[in-house]
Amino acid sequence: MGYKIGIDVGGTFTDTVLIQNNEVIKKGKVLTDPKNILNTVLEAFDFLEIPPSMPLDHITVSTTLVTNAILLNKLSKVNLILFPGSGVRLSSFNWPVKYSVLSGELDYRGREVLPPDKREWKELTQRLSSHSENPLVAIVSKFSHRNNIFETELKAYLENEIPNVHIALGSEWGKSNFYRRSLTTYLNLACTELFSNFRCNLKKAVISRGFNGPIRILKADGGVFPLERIRPVESIYSGPAASILGALAQSEPEESFIVVDIGGTTTDIGLVLGGSPLLSFKGAQIDNFLTHIRSLATRSITVGGDSTIINRNGEIIISNYRTGPAYCMGGNSPTPTDAMRYLNYIKIGSYQKAEEALAELLPENERQALTIRTLAESIIEQMVEKIILAIKQLLTEWKNEPAYKVWEVLHQNLDYKFNIYLSGGPAAGLAKTFENKMKTRAIISNWAPISNAVGAAMAKPTFSWTLNLDTSLAKYRIEETGEQGAWKGAKRPYREVEKFLVDISKEQALEMGIDFDSFKIEPFEYFPLVDNHRTIGQIVRGSVHLPPGVIGRIL
């Protein structure tokens, strides 16, 4: 096995690691330059001092590039065109972006209820070309995941009228939920240019360093995807995913655990059930955008080692902001890190400064060793309790996942015994408190400070192919790729549908450049379609997944 590189771009630091044969060969941290993520990634790469001759399997990058661009609103301008048909009023939703509406309606099986009005298309063309030579246009119709006809027709029309138009279709994000599909299509198109530049420059820079192999980008669902093929918006929220994978790479294969990654200002929490990271049943939300981006079920809370501690009318509170590093590390304000340092839970930073920082929070006449100690302990407790509350919320979310089949309800397995995996800078200082409060084992990995980079390097590719086959209408659709085709098989197929989907998946995985070894098939659902007491066909739903996981376990 060759060498693998993992780079995780964090808010303050970027972690980097070189791994061979499941062993960490070299690791380190460089400062993140949020204004130049590309440079940060290259610095992290250069830090590892890889000789050009070294056989590299792959480089994996977990980057905040797109997340930041969305949060800071540095996106390209996109024209969102909707075919909402009837139903819920668009105004019932909170739209973070503008849209325009065209007529035309499909029903839940993709059958046309009302045709589009081509006169509107002409007006649209004029409007689009009056603003820009090469407009970006996202077209989304309600039920386009069942029939993309309006979208593809309008696309063809516009491409003919406006030669430099750039179009994205909602059906490419073929899951149910028109609102999310619209926003996801919009976001992905809006960050495409930004990401393309990053893609090109990274590729060039890496090649110039003598490396020609695959570059992989970590996604929110804990999987990787080739740099060339990833849809940009899928790279958001890879940080929390990286920490869960990092823990996974250091755990036992069937272990269940809660991942707690404590950073400077935020703490990310995730869940691994019997060796499989838990995916969120809803798509990710970023800023005001509800999306279809698959992500691991995580909770992020704004508390970390550098959270500023304040005294509000005599009450000591861990705030949700950071003013700089911990006082004991040369910062200006007291932080939980100072409490940990004072209690000797951690050894880095100045003990004396830590004491000073804590004392400052107390009235002058109460600054004795014992009171300071009590204060330090209560700060740690407060921090851990905040995190435990978030853990409980995540567990509740998992237990409350909907079920749509009798079998699922009867076989809900909620009986896991969870350990806690702590990572991030302040992890060591909190382990004992977690063990006491949660009555379970808290594990701190050897690689806690660079756990995320390890997770990125060891992550497997993920993808899903979800089939919706309507034999009565003789159509099939693959949700994740937006593929829609004609079904030529039986009206009432059985197991051959599974093979049909696996074949498609296998072929497309190969074409996308991802391994297709450990795929999982979800039980298929068969719905006999009845008309006038006769069975006239079937709707079949099923999916093939490449679930998130790790290539190997770090020794």
Binding site: S92, R146, L290
Partner: protein, 442 residues
């Protein structure tokens, strides 16, 4: 006012009563497609809950399952009940303003004694929920408004002698539709006269007629009764596309009815126009509960039938109401030698189980009482197997005499009968005497 609407969507995608049966896997498939595509689950005021299996005790408190509940395949039914209970509790605990149990299978044809499935129902979701809420939270007055096109004969059967549960059913006349009951004369037992209201409509009534009846009959009755909770048995077979019935209500009509009724909880009952109606009606009800605009909900098919409306409807409904108000009870008093003291009102009926095509004969005795709902004795016999089953029900808030009467009956009968349920609602326990053994619940 900001509402919080809970929903449990449990379409039982792996359960059916037969491949081409109306109650099949496909029934809520398009509702799922529609509601999920519309993104309704993303509304901030909507909270999706996950289904759970109900405790069998909660069932047996309300329904006696014969000959042995373990012989019936209850899994799907118990999940439908359990889901209703989850939402009911969340509403009582003020976690939610209201809720929609969008579940299969339905329940309102299932009565106080159960030998099998009838009208697609085995367990009565709403009735079990109501009694569970009374047992757990001490609710005193509750109402069920049944808007399914079929008469909810099971629900009526369960609460017929219960003065504290108002049961109002608006449905297509029993002379033209299953189950053939639900006439204005059926107004409740001797201790609960007037707490059952049946509004049998002629075929063809549409939105206008329904809304008029709600505003002028149903809502005033509810206002007068002052229930602590209103449950809507939300059948959707009044829709003009329904294959089994002949009413003319639209999806928006259902939305309007929901808006008028303001149920605390709507529980899906029937409705078998799975493509033409359900996706739209379910959406309209859910939007109305969540306080959202449902005026954009338009089913692709248009109403083609003749609608009974205007003057014709008004004169029909006024006559019906007048007839209802004028009906006087006519009790038959009868008792057996072993009965405890008091006046016992007797009634009998045959109950048809259409799913497996057999009959049950029921002979009921109610102890007339001025202080409580009165103890009830139900003698049930399966006319196919001739097996017998008995139920003695001591009501919630029973007076001491009635409670004692219940136990006296139990003592008198347990030597000669093999299968007896003693449902003591007052003390929240159930004794099931089967053969020579006794199983205690609660």
């Amino acid at each position: 006012m900001m509402v919080n609407t809970g929903i449990i969507f449990f379409p039982a995608f792996d359960w059916s009563l037969g491949e081409t049966h109306p109650e099949r896997e496909e029934r809520l498939l398009y509702t799922q497609e529609q509601i999920f595509e519309e993104g309704i689950m993303d509304f901030p005021q909507i909270k999706q809950y996950s289904p759970e299996v109900a405790d069998i005790f909660d069932v047996l408190r309300t329904q006696a399952i014969f000959p042995d509940y373990r012989q019936h395949d209850l899994d799907a039914h118990l999940i439908a009940v359990g889901s209703s209970i989850i939402l009911g509790k969340a509403i009582i605990e003020k976690e939610l303003t209201n809720g929609f149990a969008l579940i299969r299978p339905p329940g309102h044809h299932s009565g106080a004694t159960v030998w099998g499935n009838r009208g697609f129902c085995t367990l009565n979701n709403e009735a079990i929920l109501i009694n569970t809420l009374r047992a757990k939270y001490g609710l005193k007055k509750l109402a069920i408004v049944d808007t399914d096109v079929h008469h909810g004969d099971g629900t009526q059967d369960i609460f017929y002698n219960d003065p504290n549960v108002l049961y109002i059913s608006i449905h297509q006349d029993g002379r033209t539709l299953f189950p053939g009951t639900g006439f204005t004369e059926e107004k409740g037992g001797p201790n609960a006269w007037g707490t059952v209201i049946n509004i049998p409509l002629v075929p063809g009534v549409g939105d206008e007629g329904f809304i008029y009846t709600f505003e002028n009959w149903i809502l005033p009755k509810l206002q007068e009764f002052q229930p602590e909770i209103i449950i809507n048995s939300a059948g959707q077979d009044n829709h003009f596309t329904d294959p089994l019935a002949s009413m003319n209500v639209s999806a928006q009509g259902y939305g309007k009815i929901t808006e008028l009724l303001k149920p605390d909880l709507a529980v899906l009952e029937g409705g078998y126009s799975i493509q033409g109606a359900l996706p739209y009606v379910n959406m309209a009800i859910l939007l109305a509960l969540a306080g959202e605009d449902y005026s954009g909900v338009i089913e692709p098919q248009k109403l083609k039938n003749m609608e009974v409306s205007g003057e014709a409807f008004l004169s029909f409904i006024h006559d019906l109401k007048k007839h209802h108000d004028n009906v006087k009870p006519n009790w038959i008093f009868r008792k057996e030698k072993y009965f405890p003291s008091g006046d016992w009102v007797y009634g009998e009926k045959d109950i048809f189980y259409d799913t497996h095509w057999f009959r049950e004969r029921r002979k009921d005795y109610v102890r007339k009482c001025n202080h409580c709902g009165g103890t009830v004795l139900m003698l049930s016999q399966n006319l196919e197997t001739y097996e017998k089953g008995l139920v003695i029900r001591i009501p919630f808030e029973a007076c001491e005499t009635c409670e004692q009467a219940g136990y006296d009956l139990f003592d008198a009968l347990k030597e000669r009968e093999k299968n007896i349920f003693l449902q003591n609602l007052k003390n929240n326990k159930v004794i099931w005497r089967i053969g020579n053994g006794e199983v205690n619940f609660g």
